[in-house]
Amino acid sequence: MTHWIAVPVLLPAVLAGLIVLAMRGDIVLQRVFSLFGNAALLAVALALFAAAGSGPPEAYRLGNWPAPYGIVLVLDRLAALMVLLTAALALAVNLYAVGSGWDRRGQHFHALWQFQMMGLAGAFLTGDAFNLFVFFEVLLIASYGLMIHGGGRDRLAAGVQYVAYNLVGSTLFLFALATIYGVTGTLNFADLAGKVAALPPGEAGLIRVAGVLLLLVFAIKGALVPLQFWLPATYANAPGPVAALFAVMTKVGAYAILRTYTLVFPPATPATGALFADLLLPAALVTLLVGALGVLGAASLMRLVAFAAVASMGTLFIAIALFTPAATTAALYYLVHSTLAVAVLFLVADLVVAGRGSGDLGAARPPVRSEGLIAALYLAGAIAVAGLPPLSGFLAKLLVLDAVRGIAATVWTVILVTSLLTIVGLAVAGSTLFWKSHDPGTPGAAAADGAAPAPLALVAVALLLALLAGLTVFAGPVTAELRATAGSLYDPAAYIAANTLGRVE
Protein backbone atom coordinates (compact mmCIF):
# COMPACT_ATOMS: atom_id res chain seq x y z
CA MET A 1 0.00 0.00 0.00
CA THR A 2 3.03 2.21 0.57
CA HIS A 3 2.92 4.70 -2.27
CA TRP A 4 -0.86 4.85 -2.33
CA ILE A 5 -0.83 6.78 0.96
CA ALA A 6 0.37 9.89 -0.88
CA VAL A 7 -2.25 9.59 -3.65
CA PRO A 8 -5.11 11.40 -1.81
CA VAL A 9 -2.81 14.43 -1.58
CA LEU A 10 -1.12 14.21 -4.98
CA LEU A 11 -4.11 13.34 -7.19
CA PRO A 12 -6.16 16.47 -6.38
CA ALA A 13 -3.02 18.64 -6.51
CA VAL A 14 -2.18 17.46 -10.04
CA LEU A 15 -5.80 17.68 -11.17
CA ALA A 16 -6.20 21.20 -9.79
CA GLY A 17 -3.15 22.41 -11.65
CA LEU A 18 -4.31 20.68 -14.81
CA ILE A 19 -7.77 22.21 -14.55
CA VAL A 20 -6.38 25.72 -14.06
CA LEU A 21 -3.77 25.51 -16.81
CA ALA A 22 -5.25 23.28 -19.50
CA MET A 23 -9.02 23.57 -19.15
CA ARG A 24 -9.62 27.27 -18.61
CA GLY A 25 -12.99 28.23 -19.94
CA ASP A 26 -14.04 24.70 -20.86
CA ILE A 27 -16.60 23.93 -18.18
CA VAL A 28 -17.52 20.49 -19.58
CA LEU A 29 -13.94 19.26 -19.49
CA GLN A 30 -13.50 20.75 -16.00
CA ARG A 31 -16.60 18.96 -14.76
CA VAL A 32 -15.54 15.62 -16.24
CA PHE A 33 -12.07 15.80 -14.73
CA SER A 34 -13.25 17.12 -11.38
CA LEU A 35 -15.92 14.43 -11.00
CA PHE A 36 -13.50 11.79 -12.24
CA GLY A 37 -10.95 13.03 -9.71
CA ASN A 38 -13.47 12.83 -6.89
CA ALA A 39 -14.53 9.32 -7.93
CA ALA A 40 -10.89 8.19 -8.12
CA LEU A 41 -10.24 9.76 -4.72
CA LEU A 42 -13.18 7.80 -3.33
CA ALA A 43 -11.82 4.55 -4.79
CA VAL A 44 -8.35 5.20 -3.33
CA ALA A 45 -9.89 6.18 0.01
CA LEU A 46 -11.86 2.91 0.07
CA ALA A 47 -8.70 0.91 -0.64
CA LEU A 48 -6.77 2.82 2.06
CA PHE A 49 -9.64 2.30 4.50
CA ALA A 50 -9.55 -1.44 3.87
CA ALA A 51 -5.75 -1.47 4.25
CA ALA A 52 -5.83 0.54 7.49
CA GLY A 53 -8.52 -1.74 8.92
CA SER A 54 -6.63 -4.95 8.21
CA GLY A 55 -3.10 -3.99 9.23
CA PRO A 56 -1.14 -1.77 11.61
CA PRO A 57 -0.67 1.97 10.87
CA GLU A 58 1.70 2.68 8.02
CA ALA A 59 4.02 5.64 7.56
CA TYR A 60 5.02 7.09 4.21
CA ARG A 61 8.25 9.08 4.12
CA LEU A 62 8.00 12.07 1.83
CA GLY A 63 11.54 12.58 0.59
CA ASN A 64 12.61 9.29 2.19
CA TRP A 65 14.18 10.87 5.28
CA PRO A 66 13.68 8.95 8.55
CA ALA A 67 10.82 10.14 10.69
CA PRO A 68 11.61 12.85 13.19
CA TYR A 69 13.88 14.63 10.67
CA GLY A 70 11.88 14.12 7.52
CA ILE A 71 8.14 14.59 7.02
CA VAL A 72 5.85 11.56 7.08
CA LEU A 73 2.28 10.81 6.13
CA VAL A 74 0.75 8.24 8.45
CA LEU A 75 -2.20 6.09 7.51
CA ASP A 76 -4.09 4.71 10.48
CA ARG A 77 -7.73 3.83 11.02
CA LEU A 78 -8.78 7.36 12.00
CA ALA A 79 -7.00 9.04 9.09
CA ALA A 80 -8.45 6.51 6.64
CA LEU A 81 -11.96 7.03 8.02
CA MET A 82 -11.71 10.81 7.65
CA VAL A 83 -10.32 10.62 4.11
CA LEU A 84 -13.09 8.20 3.14
CA LEU A 85 -15.76 10.48 4.65
CA THR A 86 -14.33 13.50 2.84
CA ALA A 87 -14.12 11.69 -0.50
CA ALA A 88 -17.69 10.36 -0.29
CA LEU A 89 -19.12 13.72 0.76
CA ALA A 90 -17.13 15.60 -1.87
CA LEU A 91 -18.27 13.35 -4.72
CA ALA A 92 -21.96 13.78 -3.84
CA VAL A 93 -21.65 17.52 -3.27
CA ASN A 94 -19.63 17.96 -6.47
CA LEU A 95 -22.48 16.24 -8.35
CA TYR A 96 -24.84 18.75 -6.76
CA ALA A 97 -22.63 21.69 -7.73
CA VAL A 98 -22.57 20.46 -11.33
CA GLY A 99 -26.30 19.67 -11.36
CA SER A 100 -27.39 22.98 -9.88
CA GLY A 101 -25.02 24.98 -12.09
CA TRP A 102 -23.27 26.58 -9.09
CA ASP A 103 -19.88 25.78 -10.61
CA ARG A 104 -20.63 28.08 -13.55
CA ARG A 105 -21.40 31.18 -11.49
CA GLY A 106 -17.74 32.13 -11.16
CA GLN A 107 -14.26 31.15 -12.27
CA HIS A 108 -12.14 28.21 -11.14
CA PHE A 109 -14.70 26.39 -9.00
CA HIS A 110 -13.35 22.94 -9.84
CA ALA A 111 -9.69 23.89 -9.44
CA LEU A 112 -10.37 25.33 -5.98
CA TRP A 113 -12.46 22.27 -5.18
CA GLN A 114 -9.55 19.97 -5.95
CA PHE A 115 -7.15 22.11 -3.90
CA GLN A 116 -9.63 21.86 -1.05
CA MET A 117 -9.54 18.05 -1.40
CA MET A 118 -5.76 18.16 -1.29
CA GLY A 119 -5.73 20.23 1.90
CA LEU A 120 -8.34 18.07 3.62
CA ALA A 121 -6.69 14.76 2.72
CA GLY A 122 -3.27 16.10 3.71
CA ALA A 123 -4.50 17.39 7.06
CA PHE A 124 -5.96 13.97 7.87
CA LEU A 125 -2.95 11.96 6.72
CA THR A 126 -0.02 14.00 7.98
CA GLY A 127 2.04 12.71 10.88
CA ASP A 128 3.78 16.00 11.54
CA ALA A 129 2.42 19.00 13.46
CA PHE A 130 4.01 21.62 11.21
CA ASN A 131 2.73 19.86 8.14
CA LEU A 132 -0.71 19.92 9.71
CA PHE A 133 -0.35 23.71 9.75
CA VAL A 134 0.70 23.73 6.09
CA PHE A 135 -2.26 21.58 5.02
CA PHE A 136 -4.60 23.73 7.13
CA GLU A 137 -3.38 26.70 5.10
CA VAL A 138 -3.88 24.81 1.82
CA LEU A 139 -7.45 23.93 2.68
CA LEU A 140 -8.11 27.42 4.04
CA ILE A 141 -6.81 29.27 1.00
CA ALA A 142 -8.94 27.06 -1.24
CA SER A 143 -11.91 27.60 1.05
CA TYR A 144 -11.47 31.39 0.81
CA GLY A 145 -11.85 31.11 -2.94
CA LEU A 146 -14.79 28.73 -2.73
CA MET A 147 -16.54 30.81 -0.08
CA ILE A 148 -16.67 33.92 -2.23
CA HIS A 149 -17.44 31.88 -5.39
CA GLY A 150 -20.10 33.71 -7.35
CA GLY A 151 -19.33 37.03 -5.67
CA GLY A 152 -21.85 39.51 -4.37
CA ARG A 153 -21.79 42.16 -1.69
CA ASP A 154 -22.70 40.17 1.41
CA ARG A 155 -20.61 37.19 0.41
CA LEU A 156 -17.49 39.34 0.00
CA ALA A 157 -18.07 41.14 3.30
CA ALA A 158 -18.54 37.82 5.10
CA GLY A 159 -15.48 36.47 3.26
CA VAL A 160 -13.20 39.22 4.61
CA GLN A 161 -14.30 38.41 8.14
CA TYR A 162 -13.77 34.69 7.57
CA VAL A 163 -10.27 35.18 6.17
CA ALA A 164 -9.23 37.63 8.91
CA TYR A 165 -10.49 35.29 11.63
CA ASN A 166 -8.64 32.33 10.20
CA LEU A 167 -5.43 34.31 9.73
CA VAL A 168 -5.45 35.09 13.44
CA GLY A 169 -6.01 31.37 14.01
CA SER A 170 -3.04 30.49 11.79
CA THR A 171 -0.81 32.90 13.71
CA LEU A 172 -1.87 31.32 17.00
CA PHE A 173 -1.11 27.92 15.48
CA LEU A 174 2.44 29.06 14.69
CA PHE A 175 2.92 30.42 18.22
CA ALA A 176 1.78 27.06 19.62
CA LEU A 177 4.03 25.06 17.29
CA ALA A 178 7.07 27.22 18.05
CA THR A 179 6.48 26.84 21.80
CA ILE A 180 6.17 23.07 21.42
CA TYR A 181 9.32 22.96 19.33
CA GLY A 182 11.15 25.15 21.84
CA VAL A 183 10.27 22.76 24.67
CA THR A 184 10.59 19.36 22.99
CA GLY A 185 12.76 19.95 19.92
CA THR A 186 10.47 18.01 17.59
CA LEU A 187 7.20 18.40 15.71
CA ASN A 188 6.60 14.81 14.61
CA PHE A 189 3.44 13.53 16.35
CA ALA A 190 4.89 10.15 17.28
CA ASP A 191 8.14 11.70 18.52
CA LEU A 192 6.18 14.33 20.47
CA ALA A 193 4.15 11.59 22.16
CA GLY A 194 7.30 10.14 23.71
CA LYS A 195 8.97 13.48 24.50
CA VAL A 196 5.93 15.15 26.11
CA ALA A 197 5.26 12.10 28.27
CA ALA A 198 8.89 12.15 29.50
CA LEU A 199 9.01 15.92 30.09
CA PRO A 200 10.66 17.02 33.38
CA PRO A 201 8.22 18.80 35.75
CA GLY A 202 10.07 22.12 35.33
CA GLU A 203 8.95 22.38 31.69
CA ALA A 204 5.29 21.60 32.41
CA GLY A 205 4.22 25.26 32.42
CA LEU A 206 5.37 25.98 28.87
CA ILE A 207 3.94 22.79 27.40
CA ARG A 208 0.61 23.48 29.08
CA VAL A 209 0.54 26.93 27.45
CA ALA A 210 1.36 25.38 24.09
CA GLY A 211 -1.32 22.71 24.52
CA VAL A 212 -3.98 25.28 25.34
CA LEU A 213 -2.92 27.50 22.41
CA LEU A 214 -3.23 24.48 20.13
CA LEU A 215 -6.65 23.71 21.60
CA LEU A 216 -7.71 27.30 20.82
CA VAL A 217 -6.60 26.91 17.20
CA PHE A 218 -8.52 23.66 16.75
CA ALA A 219 -11.51 25.21 18.56
CA ILE A 220 -11.54 28.01 15.97
CA LYS A 221 -11.63 25.38 13.20
CA GLY A 222 -14.26 23.37 15.06
CA ALA A 223 -16.39 26.46 15.86
CA LEU A 224 -16.32 25.88 19.61
CA VAL A 225 -17.83 28.68 21.74
CA PRO A 226 -16.46 31.34 22.29
CA LEU A 227 -14.65 31.02 18.94
CA GLN A 228 -17.66 30.15 16.79
CA PHE A 229 -18.48 33.69 15.60
CA TRP A 230 -17.07 33.19 12.12
CA LEU A 231 -19.23 30.16 11.31
CA PRO A 232 -22.84 31.37 10.96
CA ALA A 233 -22.03 34.34 8.71
CA THR A 234 -19.58 32.30 6.62
CA TYR A 235 -21.79 29.28 6.07
CA ALA A 236 -24.93 31.34 5.58
CA ASN A 237 -23.27 33.41 2.86
CA ALA A 238 -21.27 30.68 1.15
CA PRO A 239 -22.75 28.99 -1.95
CA GLY A 240 -24.95 26.02 -0.94
CA PRO A 241 -22.66 23.22 -2.17
CA VAL A 242 -19.61 24.94 -0.67
CA ALA A 243 -21.36 25.20 2.70
CA ALA A 244 -22.19 21.49 2.40
CA LEU A 245 -18.50 20.69 1.81
CA PHE A 246 -17.57 22.97 4.72
CA ALA A 247 -19.56 20.53 6.90
CA VAL A 248 -16.41 18.41 6.86
CA MET A 249 -14.12 21.42 7.51
CA THR A 250 -15.30 21.93 11.07
CA LYS A 251 -14.61 18.22 11.51
CA VAL A 252 -10.95 18.90 10.70
CA GLY A 253 -10.85 20.73 14.04
CA ALA A 254 -12.49 17.77 15.76
CA TYR A 255 -10.08 15.37 14.06
CA ALA A 256 -7.06 17.45 15.08
CA ILE A 257 -8.25 17.56 18.70
CA LEU A 258 -8.82 13.79 18.72
CA ARG A 259 -5.40 13.15 17.21
CA THR A 260 -3.38 15.60 19.30
CA TYR A 261 -5.06 15.06 22.66
CA THR A 262 -5.02 11.26 22.49
CA LEU A 263 -1.52 10.91 21.01
CA VAL A 264 0.56 13.86 22.21
CA PHE A 265 -1.31 15.05 25.31
CA PRO A 266 -3.30 12.03 26.51
CA PRO A 267 -5.09 12.59 29.87
CA ALA A 268 -2.43 10.42 31.57
CA THR A 269 0.38 12.89 30.70
CA PRO A 270 1.93 14.05 34.00
CA ALA A 271 2.65 17.56 32.69
CA THR A 272 -0.89 18.37 31.56
CA GLY A 273 -3.28 15.90 33.19
CA ALA A 274 -6.97 16.39 32.50
CA LEU A 275 -6.52 20.11 31.72
CA PHE A 276 -7.78 19.91 28.14
CA ALA A 277 -10.82 17.74 28.91
CA ASP A 278 -11.77 20.19 31.68
CA LEU A 279 -11.60 23.10 29.22
CA LEU A 280 -13.33 21.27 26.39
CA LEU A 281 -16.43 19.91 28.13
CA PRO A 282 -17.97 23.21 29.39
CA ALA A 283 -17.19 24.91 26.06
CA ALA A 284 -18.87 22.04 24.21
CA LEU A 285 -22.00 22.29 26.36
CA VAL A 286 -22.27 26.03 25.72
CA THR A 287 -21.64 25.45 21.99
CA LEU A 288 -24.54 23.02 21.86
CA LEU A 289 -26.83 25.50 23.65
CA VAL A 290 -25.79 28.41 21.41
CA GLY A 291 -26.31 26.28 18.30
CA ALA A 292 -29.76 25.11 19.36
CA LEU A 293 -30.87 28.63 20.31
CA GLY A 294 -29.56 29.83 16.96
CA VAL A 295 -31.64 27.19 15.16
CA LEU A 296 -34.68 28.39 17.07
CA GLY A 297 -34.05 32.06 16.37
CA ALA A 298 -32.50 32.11 12.89
CA ALA A 299 -34.05 34.59 10.48
CA SER A 300 -33.08 32.75 7.32
CA LEU A 301 -32.83 29.16 6.23
CA MET A 302 -29.08 29.13 5.55
CA ARG A 303 -28.36 30.65 8.97
CA LEU A 304 -30.60 28.04 10.56
CA VAL A 305 -28.58 25.22 9.01
CA ALA A 306 -25.35 26.99 9.98
CA PHE A 307 -26.46 27.04 13.61
CA ALA A 308 -27.45 23.38 13.31
CA ALA A 309 -23.83 22.79 12.28
CA VAL A 310 -22.65 24.67 15.41
CA ALA A 311 -24.95 22.54 17.57
CA SER A 312 -23.64 19.34 15.97
CA MET A 313 -20.09 20.42 16.79
CA GLY A 314 -21.22 20.93 20.40
CA THR A 315 -22.53 17.36 20.67
CA LEU A 316 -19.41 16.04 18.96
CA PHE A 317 -17.07 17.88 21.34
CA ILE A 318 -19.04 16.67 24.38
CA ALA A 319 -18.33 13.10 23.31
CA ILE A 320 -14.69 13.90 22.48
CA ALA A 321 -14.09 15.73 25.78
CA LEU A 322 -14.54 12.54 27.81
CA PHE A 323 -11.45 10.94 26.21
CA THR A 324 -12.58 7.36 26.84
CA PRO A 325 -12.74 4.67 24.12
CA ALA A 326 -16.53 4.28 24.46
CA ALA A 327 -17.16 8.02 24.20
CA THR A 328 -14.76 8.33 21.27
CA THR A 329 -16.62 5.54 19.45
CA ALA A 330 -19.81 7.56 19.92
CA ALA A 331 -17.98 10.71 18.83
CA LEU A 332 -16.75 9.08 15.61
CA TYR A 333 -20.21 7.75 14.75
CA TYR A 334 -21.71 11.17 15.44
CA LEU A 335 -18.93 12.80 13.39
CA VAL A 336 -19.72 10.72 10.30
CA HIS A 337 -23.45 11.14 10.79
CA SER A 338 -23.44 14.89 11.45
CA THR A 339 -21.15 15.62 8.49
CA LEU A 340 -23.57 13.91 6.11
CA ALA A 341 -26.71 15.23 7.82
CA VAL A 342 -25.61 18.87 7.87
CA ALA A 343 -24.48 18.58 4.25
CA VAL A 344 -27.93 17.22 3.24
CA LEU A 345 -29.64 20.08 5.01
CA PHE A 346 -27.37 22.68 3.36
CA LEU A 347 -28.11 21.23 -0.09
CA VAL A 348 -31.86 21.15 0.60
CA ALA A 349 -31.65 24.73 1.87
CA ASP A 350 -29.93 25.68 -1.37
CA LEU A 351 -32.71 23.98 -3.37
CA VAL A 352 -35.32 25.92 -1.39
CA VAL A 353 -33.50 29.25 -1.76
CA ALA A 354 -33.05 28.67 -5.50
CA GLY A 355 -36.73 27.84 -6.01
CA ARG A 356 -38.17 30.38 -3.60
CA GLY A 357 -35.85 33.25 -4.38
CA SER A 358 -35.13 33.82 -0.68
CA GLY A 359 -34.31 31.88 2.44
CA ASP A 360 -36.05 34.47 4.61
CA LEU A 361 -38.06 32.75 7.33
CA GLY A 362 -39.90 35.89 8.47
CA ALA A 363 -42.68 35.73 5.90
CA ALA A 364 -44.36 33.04 3.82
CA ARG A 365 -43.78 33.00 0.07
CA PRO A 366 -45.50 31.18 -2.77
CA PRO A 367 -44.81 27.43 -3.00
CA VAL A 368 -41.70 26.36 -4.90
CA ARG A 369 -41.67 24.02 -7.89
CA SER A 370 -41.74 20.28 -7.00
CA GLU A 371 -42.53 21.37 -3.47
CA GLY A 372 -43.59 17.89 -2.34
CA LEU A 373 -40.24 16.38 -3.19
CA ILE A 374 -38.18 19.21 -1.67
CA ALA A 375 -40.35 19.21 1.46
CA ALA A 376 -39.80 15.45 1.82
CA LEU A 377 -36.03 15.93 1.47
CA TYR A 378 -36.16 18.73 4.04
CA LEU A 379 -38.09 16.46 6.41
CA ALA A 380 -35.51 13.69 6.02
CA GLY A 381 -32.62 16.10 6.52
CA ALA A 382 -34.30 17.72 9.54
CA ILE A 383 -34.95 14.31 11.10
CA ALA A 384 -31.28 13.40 10.63
CA VAL A 385 -29.99 16.69 12.07
CA ALA A 386 -32.37 16.75 15.03
CA GLY A 387 -31.57 13.15 15.89
CA LEU A 388 -35.01 11.60 15.61
CA PRO A 389 -35.62 7.95 14.68
CA PRO A 390 -35.44 6.28 12.20
CA LEU A 391 -32.25 7.89 10.81
CA SER A 392 -28.74 7.57 12.21
CA GLY A 393 -28.93 10.82 14.18
CA PHE A 394 -31.01 9.02 16.76
CA LEU A 395 -28.49 6.20 17.11
CA ALA A 396 -25.63 8.69 17.25
CA LYS A 397 -27.23 10.71 20.06
CA LEU A 398 -28.10 7.47 21.86
CA LEU A 399 -24.46 6.40 21.70
CA VAL A 400 -23.31 9.79 23.02
CA LEU A 401 -25.87 9.71 25.86
CA ASP A 402 -24.85 6.16 26.70
CA ALA A 403 -21.18 7.14 26.79
CA VAL A 404 -21.75 10.06 29.19
CA ARG A 405 -24.04 8.04 31.50
CA GLY A 406 -21.38 7.81 34.21
CA ILE A 407 -20.89 11.56 34.59
CA ALA A 408 -22.89 14.66 35.40
CA ALA A 409 -26.60 14.82 34.72
CA THR A 410 -26.04 18.30 33.24
CA VAL A 411 -24.79 16.74 30.01
CA TRP A 412 -27.97 14.68 29.58
CA THR A 413 -30.12 17.70 30.37
CA VAL A 414 -28.31 19.91 27.86
CA ILE A 415 -28.38 17.30 25.08
CA LEU A 416 -32.08 16.49 25.55
CA VAL A 417 -33.21 20.11 25.94
CA THR A 418 -31.21 21.23 22.90
CA SER A 419 -32.65 18.34 20.89
CA LEU A 420 -36.12 19.66 21.66
CA LEU A 421 -35.09 23.22 20.76
CA THR A 422 -33.62 21.99 17.46
CA ILE A 423 -36.76 20.03 16.61
CA VAL A 424 -38.96 23.05 17.33
CA GLY A 425 -36.70 25.35 15.31
CA LEU A 426 -36.61 23.02 12.30
CA ALA A 427 -40.37 22.41 12.49
CA VAL A 428 -41.19 26.13 12.64
CA ALA A 429 -38.94 26.77 9.64
CA GLY A 430 -40.46 23.85 7.74
CA SER A 431 -44.01 25.00 8.31
CA THR A 432 -43.12 28.56 7.21
CA LEU A 433 -41.45 27.21 4.07
CA PHE A 434 -43.86 24.51 2.99
CA TRP A 435 -47.23 24.96 4.74
CA LYS A 436 -47.80 28.68 5.00
CA SER A 437 -46.94 28.92 1.30
CA HIS A 438 -50.39 27.43 0.60
CA ASP A 439 -52.12 29.93 2.89
CA PRO A 440 -54.61 31.97 0.82
CA GLY A 441 -53.30 35.11 2.57
CA THR A 442 -49.82 34.66 1.08
CA PRO A 443 -49.25 37.02 -1.85
CA GLY A 444 -49.16 35.18 -5.16
CA ALA A 445 -49.94 31.84 -3.50
CA ALA A 446 -51.03 30.22 -6.75
CA ALA A 447 -47.96 31.08 -8.78
CA ALA A 448 -44.84 28.95 -8.71
CA ASP A 449 -42.36 30.77 -10.89
CA GLY A 450 -38.99 29.72 -9.44
CA ALA A 451 -36.67 27.37 -11.26
CA ALA A 452 -37.40 23.64 -11.04
CA PRO A 453 -34.64 21.69 -9.28
CA ALA A 454 -32.18 19.94 -11.60
CA PRO A 455 -32.42 16.11 -11.57
CA LEU A 456 -28.68 15.70 -10.94
CA ALA A 457 -28.90 17.95 -7.88
CA LEU A 458 -31.72 15.81 -6.49
CA VAL A 459 -29.70 12.65 -7.18
CA ALA A 460 -26.82 14.12 -5.16
CA VAL A 461 -29.08 14.83 -2.17
CA ALA A 462 -30.60 11.35 -2.49
CA LEU A 463 -27.07 9.85 -2.50
CA LEU A 464 -26.21 11.56 0.77
CA LEU A 465 -29.53 10.46 2.30
CA ALA A 466 -28.80 6.90 1.13
CA LEU A 467 -25.44 7.09 2.93
CA LEU A 468 -27.27 8.18 6.10
CA ALA A 469 -29.72 5.30 5.70
CA GLY A 470 -26.80 2.92 5.20
CA LEU A 471 -25.17 4.28 8.35
CA THR A 472 -28.40 3.46 10.19
CA VAL A 473 -28.98 -0.01 8.74
CA PHE A 474 -25.37 -1.09 9.15
CA ALA A 475 -24.93 0.63 12.52
CA GLY A 476 -23.71 -2.64 14.06
CA PRO A 477 -20.72 -3.29 11.77
CA VAL A 478 -19.97 0.46 11.57
CA THR A 479 -19.77 0.89 15.34
CA ALA A 480 -17.66 -2.27 15.60
CA GLU A 481 -15.23 -0.72 13.11
CA LEU A 482 -15.31 2.63 14.93
CA ARG A 483 -14.73 0.89 18.26
CA ALA A 484 -11.54 -0.56 16.82
CA THR A 485 -10.61 2.94 15.58
CA ALA A 486 -11.22 4.49 19.00
CA GLY A 487 -9.30 1.64 20.64
CA SER A 488 -6.30 2.28 18.40
CA LEU A 489 -6.33 5.96 19.44
CA TYR A 490 -5.95 5.06 23.11
CA ASP A 491 -3.23 2.52 22.41
CA PRO A 492 -0.90 4.57 20.21
CA ALA A 493 2.09 2.20 20.41
CA ALA A 494 1.41 0.90 16.89
CA TYR A 495 1.10 4.44 15.50
CA ILE A 496 4.39 5.43 17.10
CA ALA A 497 6.08 2.23 15.93
CA ALA A 498 4.98 2.91 12.35
CA ASN A 499 7.11 6.05 12.33
CA THR A 500 10.31 4.01 13.02
CA LEU A 501 11.77 7.03 14.78
CA GLY A 502 15.36 7.80 13.97
CA ARG A 503 16.03 4.46 12.34
CA VAL A 504 17.79 4.77 9.01
CA GLU A 505 17.16 1.83 6.70
Binding site: V134, G151, G159, V160, L174, A178, G182, A299
Partner: protein
Amino acid sequence: MELLVASAIGVMTAAGVYLILRRRGFPVILGLALLSYAVNVFIFASGRLAIGRPPVLTAAAPGYTDPLTQALVLTAIVISFGMTAVLVVLALGAYLETGSDRVDLDHDADADAPEDRA
Protein backbone atom coordinates in the same frame (compact mmCIF):
# COMPACT_ATOMS: atom_id res chain seq x y z
CA MET B 1 19.89 40.09 23.17
CA GLU B 2 17.24 37.99 24.91
CA LEU B 3 15.59 41.16 26.20
CA LEU B 4 15.69 42.76 22.75
CA VAL B 5 14.17 39.75 20.96
CA ALA B 6 11.57 39.15 23.65
CA SER B 7 10.44 42.76 23.78
CA ALA B 8 10.36 42.98 19.98
CA ILE B 9 8.03 39.97 19.85
CA GLY B 10 5.93 41.36 22.68
CA VAL B 11 5.59 44.88 21.25
CA MET B 12 4.77 43.63 17.76
CA THR B 13 2.17 41.21 19.11
CA ALA B 14 0.58 43.90 21.25
CA ALA B 15 0.49 46.36 18.37
CA GLY B 16 -0.89 43.67 16.07
CA VAL B 17 -3.67 42.71 18.45
CA TYR B 18 -4.57 46.36 18.98
CA LEU B 19 -4.77 46.98 15.23
CA ILE B 20 -6.85 43.83 14.60
CA LEU B 21 -9.38 45.03 17.15
CA ARG B 22 -9.81 48.27 15.15
CA ARG B 23 -12.34 46.44 12.93
CA ARG B 24 -11.47 48.42 9.78
CA GLY B 25 -9.97 46.65 6.80
CA PHE B 26 -6.63 48.45 6.54
CA PRO B 27 -5.67 48.40 10.25
CA VAL B 28 -6.71 44.74 10.46
CA ILE B 29 -4.41 43.82 7.57
CA LEU B 30 -1.54 45.81 9.12
CA GLY B 31 -2.23 44.15 12.45
CA LEU B 32 -2.15 40.69 10.90
CA ALA B 33 1.13 41.56 9.18
CA LEU B 34 2.64 42.70 12.51
CA LEU B 35 1.39 39.52 14.20
CA SER B 36 2.98 37.39 11.52
CA TYR B 37 6.30 39.30 11.94
CA ALA B 38 6.09 38.65 15.67
CA VAL B 39 5.43 34.96 15.20
CA ASN B 40 8.26 34.65 12.67
CA VAL B 41 10.76 36.07 15.16
CA PHE B 42 9.22 33.85 17.84
CA ILE B 43 9.69 30.70 15.75
CA PHE B 44 13.25 31.78 15.06
CA ALA B 45 13.90 32.22 18.78
CA SER B 46 12.37 28.83 19.61
CA GLY B 47 15.49 27.24 18.09
CA ARG B 48 17.54 29.09 20.77
CA LEU B 49 19.44 32.30 20.07
CA ALA B 50 22.92 31.84 18.68
CA ILE B 51 25.24 34.37 17.03
CA GLY B 52 27.71 33.63 14.27
CA ARG B 53 27.14 29.85 14.27
CA PRO B 54 26.69 27.82 11.07
CA PRO B 55 23.44 25.86 10.58
CA VAL B 56 25.09 23.06 8.57
CA LEU B 57 27.92 20.70 9.42
CA THR B 58 31.43 22.10 8.98
CA ALA B 59 34.65 20.72 10.36
CA ALA B 60 35.75 23.88 12.16
CA ALA B 61 32.45 24.93 13.72
CA PRO B 62 32.51 25.59 17.48
CA GLY B 63 28.74 24.89 17.64
CA TYR B 64 25.61 25.09 15.57
CA THR B 65 22.44 27.09 15.29
CA ASP B 66 19.20 25.17 14.74
CA PRO B 67 18.54 24.93 10.97
CA LEU B 68 15.02 23.56 11.34
CA THR B 69 13.50 26.73 12.78
CA GLN B 70 14.96 28.67 9.86
CA ALA B 71 13.17 26.35 7.48
CA LEU B 72 9.96 26.69 9.50
CA VAL B 73 10.24 30.49 9.43
CA LEU B 74 10.74 30.41 5.67
CA THR B 75 7.56 28.35 5.24
CA ALA B 76 5.66 30.60 7.63
CA ILE B 77 6.81 33.74 5.79
CA VAL B 78 5.73 32.38 2.41
CA ILE B 79 2.34 31.32 3.72
CA SER B 80 1.62 34.53 5.61
CA PHE B 81 2.71 36.55 2.59
CA GLY B 82 0.28 34.66 0.35
CA MET B 83 -2.52 34.88 2.86
CA THR B 84 -2.03 38.61 3.36
CA ALA B 85 -2.15 39.10 -0.41
CA VAL B 86 -5.45 37.18 -0.57
CA LEU B 87 -6.86 39.24 2.28
CA VAL B 88 -5.81 42.53 0.66
CA VAL B 89 -7.51 41.60 -2.62
CA LEU B 90 -10.60 40.36 -0.83
CA ALA B 91 -10.83 43.43 1.41
CA LEU B 92 -10.44 45.68 -1.62
CA GLY B 93 -13.20 43.76 -3.43
CA ALA B 94 -15.49 43.97 -0.41
CA TYR B 95 -14.74 47.69 -0.02
CA LEU B 96 -15.58 48.41 -3.65
CA GLU B 97 -18.75 46.29 -3.48
CA THR B 98 -20.11 47.44 -0.14
CA GLY B 99 -18.66 50.94 0.08
CA SER B 100 -17.43 50.24 3.60
CA ASP B 101 -14.22 48.71 4.90
CA ARG B 102 -15.65 47.47 8.19
CA VAL B 103 -14.57 43.92 8.96
CA ASP B 104 -17.33 43.16 11.43
CA LEU B 105 -20.82 42.36 10.18
CA ASP B 106 -22.89 44.66 12.35
CA HIS B 107 -25.93 43.98 10.21
CA ASP B 108 -27.18 40.41 9.85
CA ALA B 109 -25.90 39.87 6.35
CA ASP B 110 -27.68 37.15 4.44
CA ALA B 111 -26.86 36.39 0.85
CA ASP B 112 -30.34 35.04 0.32
CA ALA B 113 -32.11 38.10 1.67
CA PRO B 114 -30.14 41.06 0.36
CA GLU B 115 -33.16 43.36 0.15
CA ASP B 116 -33.70 43.78 3.88
CA ARG B 117 -30.37 45.56 4.38
CA ALA B 118 -30.04 49.25 4.90
